[in-house]
Symmetry: C2
Subunit: 361 residues, 2 copies
């Protein structure tokens, strides 16, 4: 009873068209896929007949079964797929991957990874030639499910699995750069704003155990890098307060308020992402705190907004677009049987106006 094609009753296939025109299936197939192997005239005749019969063209599933490839690349992204579109860093990355796919005429299949039910089933059913896993926690069952499919896979940011293609940056180094920057400015009372470190709903300060158990490698590293720099820097007794939240400006704002309520009030707040730092900026403004006069703020990622905020954000610049391009290219390379390379991209500290010397206190 389903609404099927237009009219005539049974399904129309390559065979139907072949019968009508009076040629064989193979010839009709060629008309679509190998135009040069055919008289232009015959080809037109076949295509016309197909049009008239309402033939939707060679069935993609059948074609793939036969061919063994699909021309599609899959992409798996942290938790809610829709979130990918609200995170500027992710958008930049996705755009670059998309551009690469486009040049190869490959489709990009965005896969959902809700913690829920049968995501494993969806993943198993995805018709793709290769996969990109973008910033997933190591222990996510989707990662497992994808690995089992034994597709050429490139991991971006996390997890990082030996022997698999990987694109990322040295996040710990980035953390260290930030830490050194703020200690050099004389801050010995700093707050850290971090996104989720584990796949749960915890909100609050980060204990050592939690950090150690973190399955979000990149944030764990950024965090550790900062902490190392603070602890082993020139300043004795740096006081560190922390808040863990979702990676949104809203959560950054809320977390910053908590941090700013603690006594003594931090003179610097380091966001592990720009999103978080931008939220902290709003919190500072809401309290009438001048940045960097009363409060130093730093981010991580260098999303476009970091440059246009007021004041512009001191941050770690990582090549978001390049990351996507590298991932896309690796994806395409793997399809050609290329090797599983690891690409570590460069980062650097970008000192803008949101950080300054600690006010004497």
């Amino acid at each position: 009873m389903h609404a099927r094609g237009a009219g005539a009753g049974s399904r129309v296939t390559l065979q139907t068209v072949a019968d009508v025109v009076g040629v064989s299936r193979a010839t009709v197939s060629n008309a679509y896929n190998r135009p040069e192997r055919l008289g232009a005239e015959l080809r037109e005749q076949i295509l016309d007949a197909a049009r008239q019969l309402g033939y939707p063209g060679p069935n993609p599933a059948a074609r793939q079964l036969r061919l063994g490839r699909s021309g599609m690349v899959g992409l798996l992204f942290t938790e809610p797929l829709s979130y990918a579109f609200s995170d500027p860093a992710a958008v930049l990355f996705l755009g670059a991957v998309a551009r690469e796919c486009e040049t190869a005429n490959a489709g990009l299949l965005l896969l959902p990874s809700p913690p829920n039910s049968d995501m494993a089933r969806t993943l198993r059913g995805a018709v793709v030639d290769s996969m990109c896993i973008y910033s997933m926690p190591e222990d996510h069952e989707a990662v497992q499910a994808v690995m089992e499919r034994q597709l050429p896979t490139v991991f971006v940011d996390q997890p990082r699995i030996r022997g698999t293609a990987f694109v990322g940056v040295d996040d710990r180094h980035g953390g260290r750069l930030v830490g050194e920057h703020v200690t050099a400015l004389g801050h010995h009372n700093v707050g850290i704003l971090t996104p989720r470190l584990l796949a749960d709903d915890y909100v609050g300060p980060v204990g050592d155990d939690r950090l150690a158990a973190s399955t979000f490698r990149i944030f764990k590293e950024r965090f550790s890098g900062i902490r190392d720099a603070l602890r082993h820097g020139p300043l004795p007794d740096v006081r560190i307060t922390t808040q863990e939240r979702n990676n949104t400006p809203e959560d950054g704002e809320a977390g910053a308020h908590v941090l700013l309520d603690s006594e003594p009030r931090p003179t610097a707040i380091l966001g592990l992402t720009d999103q978080l730092a931008l939220g902290a900026l709003r919190a500072a403004r809401a309290r009438g705190l001048s940045v960097p006069g009363d409060l130093t703020l730093t981010g991580f990622d260098d999303i476009p907004e970091a440059a246009t905020s007021d004041p512009p954000l001191t941050t770690i610049q990582q090549p978001l677009v390049e990351k996507g391009t590298a991932a896309g290219r690796l994806l395409l390379d793997l399809l050609q049987g290329g090797p599983a390379k690891e690409e570590m991209l460069n980062i650097r500290l970008l000192v803008r106006e949101s950080s300054g010397p600690a006010r004497e206190g």
Copy 2:
């Protein structure tokens, strides 16, 4: 010679696993797809064997050929796919579609539509159950190619084809609202900044013929709406100058400069998108023109940046997210055999600070 699965030589299929365990293919299939039809013990045994053999799970293409559906939704977007990720309106839309797909556990396949070569082929090969066409020019060959596949399809913004599912807004009405707003403010010398009206590389003023020939319905309507309001408003002899460009802030800026160079200088510039208007804002700033003191600026879409710009932009608010949600839902509905509805969403004029009375001159 291709790098295939790990080791043993020939490919491992359902049959291989069945043979090893000593059951039939059907049973192994059930182990994956109908766990309840199986002893838990046997099931484990099968899954273990599969793991050991390196069986990647039921081949998706084969499964789809058999099943006749894929659980994937396709999305086709104007020209370069990568552009989709740089246009805030598109990102918002995509995010919402993605969210809907996610709830249904459907994958979202982003299809490239480069004007180039064999896009038609890619389109024919895309394994999807339904398609969303987002803001494509009417005459794009991809639209044709998709139609031929006879998939349940929903069109968003354009083209609008009778009898097909559609989501959009009354763009002409929006244009009219903008036009009325500026004439009410006493502007009789206005510039219009429009995105591409035809799929070519033209840059410059828009002639009547070009407008008439436009295949980008929404911009044509916005433009016409504005023009009608200006011509038939309370002010006699409104002077209109126009510039057509790509839909980016950079192009908006360049276009605005051209407009501002004309004599007499327009007292209002109306962007057919916020992107363009935001670019015009930069141009105004570069020239030391105060907005809205020296120049009134309006946009269209109400992307997030429109609210945070300085000054905030007077614009037509259209429900970008809702649009995506509606499209996503329609897509999913069509899959269930639902009817091809048309959804017209509401828009309204949002008067913010970028528009003001025309300075006497």
